[in-house]
Amino acid sequence: MHYQFFKKNIYIAILLVLLSIFFTTSSIFWTSEIVDDRAHLKHVEFGWPLQFIIQNQERLDPPFPYKMTMVLETPTQLRYIPFFLNITLNIIFIILVSGLVNVLKNKVRGNTKKIQP
């Protein structure tokens, strides 16, 4: 009994971490930064909630101002501290969202039971 409970929680923890890493990593593809001049192109940052990827997009020639998105094959730097902080923040975010969903679910179930004659 104890073993089953422990095993189930480990799986949930692993799933949470994986989901959080996936969410954090994918954020670089849906975040953007507006650049105003050529100097700014050397340091374009992506990531959410904290920016953890820095790109040097100097090879591009956009009209200014322009909303830059992540581009591959450009010099890229990873900032580890914001990256791991994002993973932690996203784990908390996922726990809060799933908790809220559970509370709402229970409320709806409770209301349905009350309505039944």
């Binding site: 799986y11 692993i14 799933l15 994986l18 989901l19 890493i21 996936f22 990593t25 994918s26 670089i28 990827i53 040097n56 997009q57 090879r59 591009l60 020639d61 956009p62 009209p63 322009y66 998105t69 992540m70 581009v71 591959l72 094959e73 450009t74 010099p75 890229t76 990873l78």
Partner: protein
């Protein structure tokens, strides 16, 4: 439990895809300068016939020193990119399609995955740049689909990179260098290129001499 395993596997696959695309898009290379990999001379011809639009590029390194970075790196790659200005959604070309050819060693047609949508890259690269020789003219040609416009600015650049893993010669194993100089403009956008009065726009033909005594441009 079965559902959970499937979900876990799905997340892992997604995670691997994301991490690979983020961290393997560029690779670590030794430092060098532009006179050790950029062609000394190049020419581009962009036009259309009754079948489709096409781009021809020719390039030439006039001595071994101009190829020295490739020679020093066994798994080096080279990409002579042609970029079509698309920030106004009026590029002359959108993406390579159909016929392509090149005499570059181990030539491949490059993918446009995760490229900037503002600059449409049309590239035939070399997956074995160590085999490039000086004193020989190399060419690339590819047909391409129409962009949104009948004319657009064109930029040419020379990019050095490496194969990862070294035994793989496909487009998906060629990564640009992370260190500067990694991507050098040989023909810039939106800039008059003396002695030409105006920017170069497709369709048309232009040639450049890059640090071959001087950097200069002329019409073909």
């Amino acid at each position: 439990m079965k559902k959970f395993t499937i979900l876990l596997a799905f997340v892992c696959v997604q995670l691997c895809l994301c991490s690979t695309s983020v961290f393997a898009a560029t690779t670590s290379c030794s430092l060098t300068d532009d006179t050790k990999f950029v062609p000394s001379w190049g020419k581009v011809l962009i036009d259309e016939d009754r079948y489709s639009r096409y781009v021809y590029q020719w390039m030439y390194w006039h001595n071994d020193s101009r190829l020295s970075w490739f020679g020093d790196n066994t798994n080096s790659t080279f990409e002579p990119d042609a970029f079509f200005y698309n920030y106004n959604n009026e590029a002359f070309a959108e993406e390579p399609t159909g016929y392509w050819a090149s005499n570059l060693p181990r030539a491949y047609r490059d993918t446009q995955s995760f490229d900037s949508s503002g600059e449409n890259a049309i590239t035939i690269g070399s997956a074995n740049a160590q085999d490039l020789s000086s004193g020989r003219i190399y060419y690339t040609v590819t047909r391409m689909t129409d962009g949104g416009g009948d004319s657009s600015w064109v930029k040419l650049s020379a990019q050095r990179g490496k194969r990862r893993p070294s035994w793989c010669y496909s487009t998906n194993c060629s990564f640009g260098c992370r260190q500067s100089e990694n991507n050098v403009r040989t023909l810039p956008f939106r800039q008059s290129v003396p002695p030409l009065d105006e920017e170069f726009s497709a369709p048309g033909c232009v040639q450049y001499w890059y640090h071959w005594n001087i950097t200069t441009f002329s019409e073909c």
